[in-house]
């Protein structure tokens, strides 16, 4: 099974160095200070991997000399094509990276995942069509058995990543409704297709069709995987997207790892394992933060009854509405204010004016901090990035477990565009859809201010928030950005 005997020792070591650089890239993210150096390690690792590949696998064409011996000649046209492909990719990538708004990061990450998935499918197809070029052929001209497994798995995972990410992108970007789309008997269909993919992979691996591009099983596996990726994501609703995006992140890693096995390439395998674990851990953190099992998120359909649940009798209950002046007065006279941002802040693009408000309050001697729930927003860490973009010092931003006990000492909890993550029903109401979910205890603050568009419509989970009707809660009904702007003026 020495199928990559052609890799020289120096190249193997270079790939290993690239892999170590990628580990350091992730390690750097343990704190903001070291993160920028970490990112540079990542770039160095990528450069090492690409240059090593270009040197060990220069574009060649086969030339038959007059004496009948076949020799390899450097192919300039192909070299230029490769450079052109890299340059096109670089221009597109850099342009997108420069222009994208921070609120659109979830979409961007989903789009990038789809590209990794597609690249994995294409590499698997190329390896299938030209196994000789990858050193995957045995003495009889058949593809190695192990390589066939790895290739088929890589193609399948890549295809699932691609179509799943495309749907996630469409949902996050608003090209498609965020509401879950539920097909009848979808679990039966999904298990049927997944089973079929596995059976076909086994059939391909064991079949006699081991030659280059032989048989139709690989294309069928790819097509079915595209379909299942699509079907798996459409029933999952918008607020579960943090889990989906993390999960697809994980898949893109496993796809890279599978192709790394095919090529016996340590850089690809290390990266695949890193990215795969990273996505899996993020999915786990997101699920834990919603007190839901991974299976129930994947099964989808959460939040489907939102309209039915919200139509309950709670709508007419009395609540205290306030104006921007009232809010400004409360904030000004507070000693400690904790701001709780949610997806609504991202939608309204209110992070900059929110920071302005925080600055003004600090100038008046108010202690301002930010509390972030792990599933606030549409991807892990989404709120942190938005606050960082708005120039909020990161040592003022706290995670749930670090700040939750401080709400008791806070004079004002300022909730902007968050709902379910503050809902005490998660603690008290066993029948609630969000029961057991860890929440930010904004109810313990002396006064809670909620910025919300209107009183109609419950949170994403379709659960009415008891807090809205409490005596020490003041509702600020308006667009988040407009309301904060008015508060800033009043300050």
């Amino acid at each position: 099974m020495e199928h990559s005997a052609a890799t020289p020792a120096w190249a193997a070591i270079a790939y290993l160095i690239a892999g170590v650089c990628f580990i350091l890239a992730l390690r750097g993210l343990s704190s903001p200070e070291s993160s920028r150096a970490g990112n540079r390690y990542g770039m160095i690792g990528m450069l090492v991997a690409v240059v090593t590949t270009l040197v060990t696998h220069p574009p060649v064409s086969l030339v038959e000399s007059a004496t009948g011996t076949i020799s390899q000649v450097f192919n300039t046209t192909d070299a230029l094509l490769i450079v052109a492909a890299i340059v096109i990719g670089a221009v597109v990538g850099l342009t997108i990276a420069r222009r994208i708004a921070m609120t659109q990061m979830p979409q961007l990450v989903a789009a990038f995942h789809s590209l990794v998935g597609m690249a994995a499918v294409l590499v698997a197809l190329a390896a299938w069509l030209n196994p000789g070029g990858f050193g995957l052929l045995d003495a009889t001209g058949q593809i190695f058995l192990v390589s066939r497994i790895e290739m088929a798995l890589g193609a399948a995972i890549g295809a699932i990543t691609f179509s799943g990410s495309v749907i996630a992108f469409a949902k996050l970007n608003g090209n498609m409704s965020g509401a879950p789309i539920l097909l009848p008997a979808r679990h039966v269909i999904n298990f049927g297709i997944l089973g079929a993919i596995l059976v076909l992979i086994a059939a391909y691996v064991l079949s006699g069709a081991g030659g280059p591009g032989e048989g139709t099983l690989i294309p069928i596996i790819v097509v079915l995987s595209f379909i299942i990726g699509f079907l798996l994501i459409i029933p999952i609703g918008g607020a579960d997207m943090p889990v989906v995006v993390s999960m697809l992140n994980s898949y893109s890693g496993w796809a890279a790892a599978a192709m790394g096995f095919t090529l016996s390439n340590s850089a690809m395998i290390i990266t695949g394992a890193l990215v795969g674990s990273s996505g899996a851990i993020l999915s786990y953190i997101m699920c834990a933060a919603m007190n839901r099992s991974f299976i129930s998120v994947i099964a989808g359909g959460f939040g489907q009854d939102a309209s039915a649940a919200a139509g309950g009798p709670a709508i007419d209950r009395p609540y205290k509405a306030g104006s921007a002046d009232d809010a400004a007065f409360l904030l000004k006279n507070a000693e400690k204010v904790i701001i709780v941002p949610g997806y609504g802040m991202a939608v309204a693009q209110a992070q900059h004016v929110l920071r302005e408000m925080g600055d003004l309050l600090e100038e008046q001697g108010v202690d301002v901090r930010y509390a972030i729930h792990p599933v606030a927003g549409r991807m892990p860490g989404h709120m942190n990035v938005l606050l960082a973009e708005a120039n909020v010092s990161y040592d003022k931003v706290f995670e749930l477990e670090d700040i939750n006990s401080d709400f008791g000492q806070a004079d004002v909890a300022f909730v902007i565009g968050a709902n379910d993550v503050t809902n005490p029903a998660a603690k008290t109401d066993k029948t609630s859809a969000i029961y057991g979910m860890p929440i930010l205890d904004v109810e313990n603050a002396k006064t809670t201010l909620f910025i919300k568009r209107s009183m109609g419509g419950a949170g994403y989970a379709g659960v009415e928030n008891e807090l809205f009707f409490r005596d020490n809660t003041m509702m600020l009904l308006s667009d988040a950005k407009k309301m904060v702007e008015e508060i800033v003026k009043a300050l």
Partner: protein, 95 residues
């Protein structure tokens, strides 16, 4: 490298990944996703081999497309991560 060595690297790397990722601060989870995205484009190695290999034109063109896609991801992923990380600042306390 034989299959067992490759598998060993993979299993050990999974453990390294597990511990390294748990040490990432939650505040940087979005940059984490962006940078893992960028590094998973190391799949470009396979694409470059496909694009450079002789004798099967279809595989070569498929490889070239994969090179372009992966390169969007590499440049875009690292650039957007750098852009995000540059925003994480600790502010000096004002007088």
């Amino acid at each position: 490298m034989d299959f067992i060595s490759i598998l060993s690297i993979f299993v050990l790397a999974c453990f390294v990944g597990y511990y390294v990722v748990w040490s990432v601060t939650p505040a940087l989870h979005t940059p984490l996703m962006a940078v893992t995205n960028a590094i998973s484009s190391v799949i470009i190695v396979g694409a470059l081999i496909a694009a450079a290999a002789a004798s099967v034109p279809a595989a070569k063109w498929i490889g070239l497309v994969a090179v372009a896609l992966a390169s969007v991801n590499i440049f875009g992923g690292f650039a957007v991560t750098a852009r995000m990380l540059a925003m994480y600042k600790k502010k000096e306390k004002k007088g």
